[in-house]
Symmetry: D2
Subunit: 132 residues, 4 copies
Amino acid sequence: MPFEAQYYVYWSETDAAGIVHFAEFFRLVERAEEDLYRRAGVLHVHGSLPRIEAHIRYRAPLRRGDVARVVLALDEARRRAIRYRFEIYNDSTGRLAAEGYIAAACVEFSGGEPRAVECPEELYRAWRGTDI
Amino acid sequence: MPFEAQYYVYWSETDAAGIVHFAEFFRLVERAEEDLYRRAGVLHVHGSLPRIEAHIRYRAPLRRGDVARVVLALDEARRRAIRYRFEIYNDSTGRLAAEGYIAAACVEFSGGEPRAVECPEELYRAWRGTDI
Amino acid sequence: MPFEAQYYVYWSETDAAGIVHFAEFFRLVERAEEDLYRRAGVLHVHGSLPRIEAHIRYRAPLRRGDVARVVLALDEARRRAIRYRFEIYNDSTGRLAAEGYIAAACVEFSGGEPRAVECPEELYRAWRGTDI
Amino acid sequence: MPFEAQYYVYWSETDAAGIVHFAEFFRLVERAEEDLYRRAGVLHVHGSLPRIEAHIRYRAPLRRGDVARVVLALDEARRRAIRYRFEIYNDSTGRLAAEGYIAAACVEFSGGEPRAVECPEELYRAWRGTDI
């Protein structure tokens, strides 16, 4: 079962077109990812997961006061990286607002420079079951 | 010839890993897009170009104080949308930091709701020559 | 009784020092203000309340994963402006993270330019009782 | 002579009122502070200067495409902290957009926790002369 979380849309996320700025969608998705790790008790894993790829299709705008429901599902678990799909629904209008995927690598920061490592077991455990 | 613009990386763009946050890369790219329109004297067109798709691959980190060089090239000009490719170079290290594309639709905001329209001629003109 | 709301601190709010960036504190405070208006059923008033002054003292850092509790209390209700005090507690450490005030004017946007007007009754109603 | 720097205002800095969001003003001011340190060749000092206080009065809006000129002047140099005043002019309209001050402490991060220390001489040197 995918992971789901709901967030209100706030003023500071909007731009002069009166809708959520396109880059803010990624902050929304990452927020849900962090909440998934928090649920699993492994929030600390998130700091060693720099993004390596992201894709998004915007389907409908989000506006201040709308309820954004972010749905996350594991897409692919590799040895040194994971990829998950996301959907953002505007629960105030019932429409799909955006969908896409994010891939992240497992790294250690040694001397400030990220170095690829095998992903920790607890990362896979946090995502377990979301892909069904 | 692609359009190029350079920007310093600032503290507020970084996150707790000490590198530029992945969502901030899209703000950087959009900044260059706006500077391209400004050069062409048509900055106003940008407000009617909501994004419909974005893709990015992260290649190397950007750090505070680094010089980010954003390179933009028209990829596809359609009747009601455009797509452009971007590369972000870290001129402080000589490495490619990220690359991807952004697609945007031409719209009018009638009653707050975006409505697809034909792109204005001045939009194509602003991008002319960047694809060579 | 002051208004209170709790928010998790997320990764994108941090900077390279590993703590919440100082400008993000204002986004946190505004989020609580919007939630206060939402509770009162008058969220729409917030869009016509441009800030005219803000002050903050930073007392202790907030880190990713911490629970920030924002406390708001009406400070002064004038005919064309309001001012409220805020405190941000780090509920994960028990420490006061920041405190200050924000003042906002009541305006109408006529032709894009803000024009001072008398504040609507529902604005005062939303804040009623928070100053006790 | 105060330090001055000019920045274009970009789309992602605006909010649904069509003007720069109030929290973004602090990012603008910090950008100028970083450029002051860069000019003095001491950009690295900025990472050990967490803010302890900030105050701002908003005078007039900034809009996308406007040129913001940020003016910084040292206000007070103490042993373990500095305070500087800022003014932000909208050079596209000739109006003062905002003014205020920011105070920052000199710290070392030992074990992640900031500890107050004496400010480095190069910090004072970077600000020298801006208060005249």
